[in-house]
């Protein structure tokens, strides 16, 4: 075989092969460069900046683990971590089951199914900035919700107080996001074979039993996937906290990422902010790997 390499046919073949490879490479080159400059460089720079004191005027100086030490000794960090975890947990407890219930309900509607789907999706198309503008007013002490409460003789509810701020946020986020999750669940529901329901019914299972033993187990994979995605998304939340409450009152809505952006753009301490970013990166990568492992392990059993 090796001898054949010397023949003119093989040479031409080699030339053709490199030419074919060259075309493919050319197609990929622009994307390769763009990914390098705008994704991989920032990702690695983020890690390296976390060991530097970033200064645009007099240049960066290497400071070792100092940024990490400073970040970890900041008491606000622990408030922010606690707030983020509470927010993630409450978002699951209050918001996660809503789209599942909604999807099952809509799927058994006899009429107006598509109308319900479109209406449910409407909040998702509101630009976030408009959404917060609207809800600032709804939650206002003299806004429509409190006017209504006063109207039926109840005392006003302070949506902006320290205790209630997180709830106010979660209600508005659930309201905005559940439509798109509902659509995904509806697609999942449509994939469940109908004879399963028929068989269950013939075996004497009522509607609840069918939901419990047929519908929910069939959706298990999807539910788990959306749960992981929601946890990842809520762990990075900061925009609504920033706009509705500015992190307050008294740091009650200060999340991890809000603290990171505050370090960067309020205190202009990019080294600390990069250290916080790297910590989060490490944590989320570990979290993702663990859940992937767990899912794979779960599938095998």
């Amino acid at each position: 075989m090796e001898l054949q390499l010397e023949t003119p046919v093989a040479k031409r073949k080699m030339a053709r092969k490199t030419r074919v490879y060259a075309t493919g490479t050319l197609f990929l080159l622009p994307a390769f460069a763009v990914f390098l400059i705008f994704l991989w460089v920032p990702i690695f720079k983020g890690i390296s900046y976390s060991f530097y004191n970033v200064d645009f005027v007099s240049g960066n100086t290497f400071v070792g683990w100092d940024n990490y030490k400073e970040v970890l000794s900041n008491p606000d960090l622990y408030t922010a971590i606690k707030n983020t975890l509470v927010y993630m947990g409450l978002a699951v407890v209050i918001g996660f089951w809503v789209p599942i219930a909604m999807a099952i309900s809509v799927s058994v509607l006899k009429r107006f199914q598509s109308v319900a789907r479109i209406i449910g999706y409407l909040p998702s198309i509101i630009p976030a900035i408009v959404l917060y503008g609207m809800w600032q007013w709804f939650y206002d002490p003299v806004g429509p919700i409190n006017s209504f409460l006063n109207f039926i003789g109840l005392p006003s509810f302070d949506f902006y107080s320290k205790e209630h701020a997180v709830f106010s946020l979660i209600i508005l986020e659930t309201w905005q996001n559940f439509g798109s999750a509902t659509l995904i669940y509806i697609a999942g529901l449509a994939a469940i074979p109908k004879d399963l329901y028929e068989a269950a019914e013939l075996d004497g299972a009522g509607v609840w039993a069918r939901i419990r033993y047929v519908t929910l187990p069939s959706l298990k994979g999807l539910i788990l996937l959306l749960l992981v995605l929601q946890l990842i998304a809520t762990s990075q939340a900061f925009q609504s906290q920033l706009l509705m409450f500015g992190g307050g009152p008294d740091n009650a809505t200060l999340t991890y990422l809000l603290l990171t952006t505050r370090e960067a753009f309020t205190y202009i301490n990019f080294g600390n902010a990069s250290a916080m970013g790297s910590l989060m990166f490490a944590f989320l990568v570990i979290f993702t790997v663990v859940t992937l492992k767990l899912r794979r392990g779960g599938d095998e059993t």
Partner: protein
């Protein structure tokens, strides 16, 4: 999708039981109430934008304004040059769409149908970025753009838009679904790879391209925080401009004027959605995975 008379979770026999019917009735009422709560903010925002300040704070507030004060819209324009920021948004969107779809389309085609050295590793190079949370490199990303001198230019949007692994994944999967035979016969007929990309792959992928355009539109329309960092004053897209000038915490601009601006921002995506509703809802099942 479900127009057939085929049975679903519930059968006709279930509806004969009074208990089931009662629960079903309650459920329908709940859905109607939820639907109303979804529609209320839209209608309320629009109607409030036409009220006078006095009527706005009246108690109990009237649902409809007694006079439709279109002047609020005129007044809102003194706070914000809406036309300029609309134009910026569209410019950012157009450039990003053109650049990202070209770069990613070529790459996706290469990964799907061309011979590429170390293809597995190259694919990993692109797609592993999906696993890295974007929040963790928010700050270095900003510093990177600053170092490159791209801040406050449209290039700060256009160029990074090509680094979108999610779009790349969707495009590659779509291209892989096109039969290889089509490209092979084009090759035999002497067409170059670029020619088969432009003449075969692109026209066949119209549905996924529309979905990606819509996703891109909504992300640019939505983004207020990043744009407020990257762009300044007259270059800001609409969401960023509203954030820095109208809705910031402690804003003193009259509510009815604020709502006029919000309504103007609300309507374009609403129309886009209602027009392209079919594409969006079907695209969502693929788009959903991004989270």
């Amino acid at each position: 999708m479900k127009t057939t008379q085929e049975r679903d979770l519930m059968s006709r026999y279930d509806f004969r039981k009074p208990g089931v019917r009662a629960v079903y009735g309650i459920m329908v009422v709940c859905i109607v109430l939820i639907s109303l709560s979804m529609l209320y903010p839209f209608v309320n925002t629009f109607l409030n934008s036409l009220k006078s300040t006095k009527e706005f704070f009246a108690f109990p507030a009237p649902f409809f304004p007694s006079h439709w004060l279109w002047g609020n819209y005129k007044e809102s324009l003194t706070y914000l040059n809406v036309g300029l920021h609309f134009k910026n948004t569209l410019l950012i969107f157009a450039g990003s769409a053109l650049f990202s779809l070209t770069v990613l389309g070529l790459a996706a085609f290469g990964l799907a149908h061309l011979r590429v050295p170390f293809k597995k590793w190259v694919a990993l190079y692109f797609l592993s970025t999906l696993l890295i949370p974007s929040a963790s490199y928010l700050i270095p990303n900003f510093l990177n753009l600053k170092n490159l001198g791209l801040l406050n230019t449209y290039w700060a949007y256009w160029l990074p838009s090509g680094a979108n692994a999610f779009f790349l994944l969707l495009l590659r999967n779509f291209f892989e679904g096109i039969h290889k035979e089509l490209f092979e016969s084009a090759r035999i007929d002497g067409a170059s790879e670029l020619r088969s990309f432009l003449g075969i792959a692109v026209p066949l992928s119209a549905p996924i391209l529309v979905t990606l355009l819509l996703l891109g539109f909504s992300s640019i329309w939505n983004d207020f925080y990043w744009s407020s960092l990257v762009m300044q004053e007259d270059k800001l897209p609409i969401a960023g401009a509203i954030y820095t000038k109208i809705i910031y915490a402690g804003s003193t601009i009259n509510w009815n004027v604020r709502f006029a601006i919000l309504s103007m921002t609300l309507l374009p995506p609403l129309f886009v959605f209602l027009f392209f509703q079919k594409y969006i809802i079907s695209g969502l099942s693929v788009g959903a995975v991004k989270g």
